[in-house]
């Protein structure tokens, strides 16, 4: 379900680029509008700039050229309160889950509430009841609320990734960024996680960007596919119509077995 305000895109890049110290151009000349509520998959071989593009959305990697607007607001250009407030609205899911392994599942999901609770409460663990409710609700949505008081390190990879998604959801975000969310998972679990992300996108209308390197997953789940090669956008179209030739264009080589996850849905 797209949100009603379609005139202002959730994310808008104009002439955007990132040049790392040392001169490596990770992104160049990106012009891109992502409407609110869209489910976008970014594909490209490693080093193509997928991660850089994704991390520019929440300012983990600042742009060095061009502009970026999130819901019509320009990206704050230095760290501080404004950037933290913006990040509070953007949930992020990682390939390696990035959970605090010594803490319980619930405590991990509560990290998604950091921006909404006074610091003295978060660091002492004195979370308001309402915040715990939000965290439990997020866990409910990914189907592992029964694990709330289990230590994060005791979960399987698929379960840990669901905690990662729940943490992002607990932020009540407008945008979810998922950076290779299934790269550490087996095929069956990969599909489950992708379906979770898609379902959340549909149910809550959260704009979702997913970096993937498996072509079949991209084709199957990408409402829209963006192809990056050497930091430039070389493809922008629907997942259903993307051809093997176009993948060849994106990857600079014919697709091989390693580019497909395979397995069942």
């Amino acid at each position: 379900m797209s949100q009603s305000n379609t005139s202002v895109p959730a994310i808008r890049y104009r002439g955007a680029g990132v040049t790392y110290a040392g001169g490596v151009k990770a992104l160049k000349g990106i012009d891109l509008d992502i409407p609110a509520g869209q489910f976008v998959v970014i594909v490209g071989s490693s080093g193509a700039g997928k991660s850089t593009l994704m991390r520019s959305v929440n300012g983990l990697i600042p742009l060095t050229e061009g502009t970026l607007e999130i819901a019509g607001q320009p990206m704050p250009d230095k760290p501080g309160r404004a950037l933290r407030r913006l990040r509070a609205d953007i949930g992020m899911v990682f390939q390696d889950f990035r959970l605090v392994k010594r803490l319980s599942v619930l405590d991990n999901v509560l990290i998604g509430r950091l921006a909404h609770v006074p610091t003295w409460r978060t660091i002492t663990g004195l979370w308001p009841k309402a915040e715990v409710e939000i965290a439990l609700e997020a866990l409910e949505r990914v189907g592992i609320v029964d694990k709330a008081y289990v230590k994060a390190s005791q979960l399987s990879g698929g379960q840990q990734q669901r905690v990662g998604i729940a943490r992002a959801l607990a932020q009540r975000p407008k945008i979810i960024l998922a950076d290779e969310p299934v790269a550490s998972l087996d095929p069956v679990t990969s599909h489950q996680v992708m379906q979770d992300l898609l379902r959340i996108n549909r149910e809550l209308g959260i704009t979702t960007i997913v970096n993937l390197h498996f072509l079949d997953l991209a084709r199957r789940y990408g409402q829209r596919i963006i192809g990056l090669r050497h930091g430039e956008m070389v493809y922008d179209g629907s997942g259903e119509t993307v051809t093997d030739d176009q993948f060849r264009e994106i990857y600079g080589r014919p697709p091989g077995d390693d580019d497909f996850l395979g397995g069942v849905a």
Binding site: M92, F94, R102, L114
Partner: protein
């Protein structure tokens, strides 16, 4: 089959190091006045001291009870307060989480100065401030503990996985939250073992501090030694030995459970 190329042994390098070590040791021995003949001739003096120290005067044991508790109290206060103060000192001196280069630089140097000054110096300093006694000892050990733990702990924090702090920032966490959830959980087990190590050191140190009037067993040790009561001196040393071994066992058991 292709034989792998065997690297040339570095005879000159290792030969040079060995030679340098031998030369330095000889030079030091001359400076200290190591005299093997004299040592053998005077061995009787050491023997007399050992004979006079044996057997330990166990009748003296009850009078050690209170000073022993005082030693433990001094060590405990120093370890707990010092251990807490060491956390921010360590965090600010650990590169991945330190807020900026200036803070890092100042804190690093602060830590180095603290560590360079010996515990006896701190004891004298606090003794002039609050008077001779257990409080001066406890304050000295607090500083000593901060010095020991902050150095070790900041090195642990430097070695953390920095991906987790990134995730905390991405969720909108501020600096304190990034440290609290992204960095510290990765190093709490190490912190616990440094804390217990510091406590072991402090029990030993509080003996030395006692010698300069900071209370506890050390003070009794000094008074008995100056009265040539070697049977009592040996008893005190025995008590400390047993206490330190017991603490080591205890902290080892706790550390195993934390790991």
């Amino acid at each position: 089959m292709i034989a792998p190329v065997r690297p040339k042994p570095r005879y000159a390098f290792w030969g040079g190091i060995t030679l340098a070590l031998v030369a330095m040791t000889a030079w030091s021995a001359k400076g200290v006045g190591v005299d093997f003949i004299g040592m053998v001739c005077n061995i009787g003096g050491g023997k007399r001291l050992l004979v006079e120290s044996f057997p330990p005067d166990f009748g003296f044991l009850p009078r050690l009870f209170k000073p022993f508790l005082e030693t433990l109290q001094i060590a405990l206060i120093g370890s707990v307060i010092g251990g807490i103060l060491a956390i921010p000192v360590a965090v600010l001196a650990a590169r991945p989480v330190s807020p900026n280069g200036l803070v890092w630089f100042l804190d690093r140097n602060f830590m180095n100065v603290m560590r360079t000054l010996p515990d006896l110096f701190w004891a004298m300093l606090f003794a002039t401030a609050v008077g001779f006694g257990p409080l001066a000892g406890a304050l000295a050990l607090t500083v000593f503990t901060v010095a020991v733990i902050s150095k070790l702990f900041s090195e642990s924090i430097e070695a953390i996985d920095t991906n987790l702090p990134e995730a905390i920032c991405a969720a909108g966490g501020n600096w304190i939250e990034m440290v609290r959830f992204g960095a510290l959980p990765q190093v709490w087990p190490q912190y616990a073992s440094y804390l217990m190590y510091a406590f072991e050191l402090n029990v030993r140190s509080s003996m030395v501090l006692g010698l300069v009037g900071a209370g506890g067993l050390g003070m009794i040790l000094e008074s008995q030694r100056s009265n040539f009561e070697y049977e009592r001196v040996s008893l005190i040393i025995l008590v400390v030995l047993v206490a330190v071994l017991a603490i080591e066992q205890l902290s080892g058991a706790i550390r195993r459970r934390l790991a």
